[in-house]
Symmetry: C2
Subunit: 297 residues, 2 copies
């Protein structure tokens, strides 16, 4: 998976963040060169259609690109006609013999049929090492379907739908005050009630599930604390973790999630329950608030 | 309409942009103080639930706020119980007599019933000048419905759904090369064919409609050119227009749009057609490209 989202993100800042975050969850490279520079990621150059259009013919564009970037060439083959484009890519590789990482990219049309045809053409030309990259409005659902349908695709460029989180464009969360001067506080607004007090999350791996409790509760048997202080009075409590470390943690966390939570279609999130102590504090805090506010008027 | 979107936008940069853009289309103020400072907008302070929770009682919070900001107070009344909150706001106003712009804000529950009840309570208390502000996951559809249902709301705070453009989280457009060294160029990718050549848009106001043609075509009778050079060789061609000017242009443009294009539900966009000259150039460019690319191989 390659991050192609920069031209769709909501501003430059969001584009840099998407490149970083996608690398944490396993994307191998990004088309965002500045994000790659800042965060030590692999920059995957994408040849633009406009590059090809700027030459009188596609073959001339392919030749120029292969001469300028012999170490890593991915020929974009669908500007005019995909099958002809694949022929032009093969001819250019045979003619110039670039020795770096080679690929072709298909950005439109029937990706299953075209990728199978491309694989056959490349193999028959003695180029089994040339990878096939697909792009064009892809998301987890279309990629899952392409794989099931037997597309011969080695890498997917994913842009728009990841970069703006198209199917979940916002996360309806907010910081809420839960404790002030040692006093647990909460909101009683209809449909927006919060739980008071400082929290801790107690995770059990098998069977998987989280308990949300108070920060000073004893750890229930078979569970571990998830929350730890990251910053105290402005001072970081541990070294900043790099992308490789974040990536490893993500992989481990993902591994522990139950299978039904990892389904692409209709995933079922694991159950999260409050501890009895948190329930009791919620009840008490609410009762105290209602009494005090009634009296105050 | 007040911009409340900052806490949901995809980064700080996007938050500043949303405040600016929403002011261009008629929003009267923003909760984003930095955007207001940068772009000369009205900053509308929003009292947070956490502010109220930080005091032992709601009444104490209201009193403190009214004393600190007597010039502009909007009491957030739904932290614990909305009707009680309205009573506390009325009591605080009567007690401290702030003379600035006064309002209450309802952020949850049945906004129609609560706003009608609030209006009645405020009027009966001799406070008809106290405005009612509503917020909480609002968008154009819910606001339209609230107005139809007779809610007594003077101003709406709109955040999440505007700040991330929730129902259209991305605009599927891109810069395309249409001309290179004086030669018209185009893309023939399946489903992504572009029209070649430098363009002009010719608008007719009545009946409303746009023609897209070539930049050097004569203006068809009854139409006007929409595109004009903004920058040439890095030099701005006219003074930067301010928000007031942009706002006036938006209002005028909106006025000219046909009614069916302005419907909130299922709007029908006006027809946009190519001119015969653009059609002819598209045909010729495609023919030339296909011939050249076939020959090249």
């Amino acid at each position: 998976m390659i991050d192609f989202s920069f031209r769709r993100t909501q501003g430059l800042e969001a584009g840099i963040d998407v490149a970083r975050l996608s690398s944490m969850v396993g994307f191998i490279s990004t088309s965002n060169v500045e994000a790659a520079r800042r965060h030590g990621l692999v920059a995957a150059g994408t040849m633009a259609h406009s590059y090809i259009e700027a030459f009188p013919t596609e073959v001339e564009a392919f030749r120029a690109y292969a001469q300028d970037f012999p170490g890593r060439v991915t020929f974009l083959v669908d500007t005019y006609d995909t099958i002809t484009g694949i022929k032009h890519a093969i001819a250019t590789i045979k003619e110039l013999g670039p020795t770096g990482r080679l690929g072709i990219r298909i950005d439109s049309g029937d990706l299953v049929a075209l990728s199978r045809q491309a694989r056959k053409m490349l193999d028959q030309a003695g180029l089994p090492h040339v990878r096939i990259v697909a792009s064009g409005g892809l998301d987890e659902f279309s990629i899952d379907q392409l794989v099931r349908d037997g597309a011969k695709i080695d890498a997917f460029g994913v842009g728009t739908r990841m970069g703006v989180s198209a199917d979940h464009p916002y996360l309806d969360t907010a910081y809420k005050l839960v404790c002030y001067e040692g006093r647990p506080v909460m909101k009683l607004s209809r449909g927006k009630v919060t739980a008071p007090g400082r929290k801790q999350v107690f995770r059990r791996l098998r069977p998987f599930g989280d308990l949300v409790g108070l920060h000073d509760e004893e750890v229930p048997p078979g569970r571990e604390r998830l929350l730890e202080p990251v910053m105290i009075k402005g001072a970081r409590q541990a070294a900043r973790s790099g992308i490789a470390e974040a990536n490893a943690r993500f992989a481990a966390d993902l591994e522990h999630l139950p299978a039904e939570a990892k389904e692409i279609h209709s995933p079922r999130p694991p159950l999260v329950r409050p501890t009895p102590a948190l329930r009791a504090m919620t009840f008490e805090t609410r009762r105290g608030l209602v009494a005090r506010n009634r009296k105050a008027h």
